[in-house]
Amino acid sequence: MPEKVGTDTFRAQVLEAQRPVVAEFYADGCVPCRRLAPILSALEEEYAGKVDFVKINTGANEALTQTYGILASPTLILFRDGAEQARLRGAVKKPELIKWIGEQAL
């Protein structure tokens, strides 16, 4: 399961990461986020050593949520070399996610 990241750990684990990072901004009680959770867990294993996966609770991390202009749960942002490279807004299916990661991160 992707590790939870907060304001205090975001820089080290996302912006300064050696690999591309897929960060999921999620909300408690968000059904599309719940559906996405097992997919992200599976992809984290499949892409181990190539892409990192983290999750950010938007309710508990308002500053990060505002910094990145999050307006929908879930929102996936791909970070590379400390900067946002791409984002997906809303529910997404596994094949679409694999294609996106392939195009953006590998």
Partner: protein, 300 residues
């Protein structure tokens, strides 16, 4: 060939699967997208007996677990065509594969209605206050709709946003009086009746909605940063053959036994013509349909 193919994995379809397996019928459940149906979006279910205060997601999960434990087959796929074949029916899926069943239960439920106005794809337009309300803390938002869903969304948002407009095309609301009364106690909620949204405006996110008064046709701009849409749903039945009768809104015409105008095809749940669309009536439909399937197959 399955004894019964159930199209739709919500409360109606999964209950049908449970009853089918209890009657030793082979059963396949097809679900296009989201197992559990519309109820998964309910934060809390208070009116399904035995599941008081359970989440809609949890309740739907338990339906599916029970159907699977009893041996129903589950498959993700979108049915796009239903044809009559010798001894039953052929359902063609989006990926061109096909499944065959002696009978079919249609239980696809309904899908949410969109506003269908310019700007609906802008960031800041949402169909889920539970998911996205937190992003509008201290901001001005509007909710569009007049049913329980809209009133619930407005109440939730009133706790987060600085100002909430509830925009409804009529003077009176379909929503339960209890919810409306609670809304009246929220000082930051303003109800705008007799108005429809004609356009959502913004460069990279929502900044304004353009409202039209349904009587005077006059337009006015309302500055908001978030738009929460809750204007009901409609059945997804347009792909079905004409031999299956439906009403003007697209609901399948069927009575309590689920029988449609095409023998061997049954309708269960929210897509059937009925007075009350609830989990409890959907589940009842699923059970009743299996009795009808058994009768059709000559097993009773």
């Amino acid at each position: 060939m399955y004894d019964v193919i159930i199209v739709g994995g919500g409360p109606a379809g999964l209950t049908a699967a449970i009853y089918a397996r209890r009657s030793a019928l082979s059963a396949l459940v097809l679900e296009r997208e989201d197992w559990g149906g519309a109820i998964v979006n309910a934060a809390q279910v208070d009116n399904y007996p035995g599941a008081f205060q359970k989440s809609g997601f949890g309740l739907a999960e338990s339906f599916r677990t029970q159907a699977e434990a009893l041996g129903a087959e589950m498959r993700e796929g979108s049915a796009v065509q239903l044809s009559k074949i010798n001894g039953g029916f052929l359902l063609t899926l989006e990926d061109s594969s096909a499944v065959r069943g002696k009978t079919v239960i249609l239980a696809m439920g309904t899908q949410r209605t969109t506003l269908d106005v310019p700007g609906e794809d802008l960031p800041g337009v949402s169909y889920c206050a539970t998911c996205d309300g937190t992003f509008f803390r201290g901001r001005t938002v509007c909710v569009v709709g007049g049913g329980d869903g809209a009133v619930d969304a407005a109440r939730l948002l009133a706790r987060l946003a600085a100002k909430v407009y509830l925009i409804h095309r009529r003077e009176t609301f379909r929503a339960a009086q209890s919810g409306l009364r609670q809304l009246e106690d929220c000082p930051n909620v303003e109800i705008i009746p007799n108005a429809v949204v004609r356009e959502i405006v913004g460069s990279d996110r929502v900044s304004t909605v353009i409202l039209e008064d349904v009587h005077s046709r006059a337009h006015r701009e309302l500055p908001v940063e978030g738009v929460f849409v809750s204007i009901g749903s409609r059945p997804n039945t347009s792909w079905l053959p004409k031999a299956i009768g439906r009403d003007a809104a697209g609901y399948l015409v069927a009575s309590e036994d689920g029988a449609t105008s095409l023998p061997g095809v049954f309708a269960a749940g929210d897509l059937r013509t009925k007075a009350l669309r609830q989990v409890v009536t959907a589940a009842a439909d699923g059970a009743a349909c299996i009795r009808s399937v058994e009768a059709y197959l000559g097993r009773l």
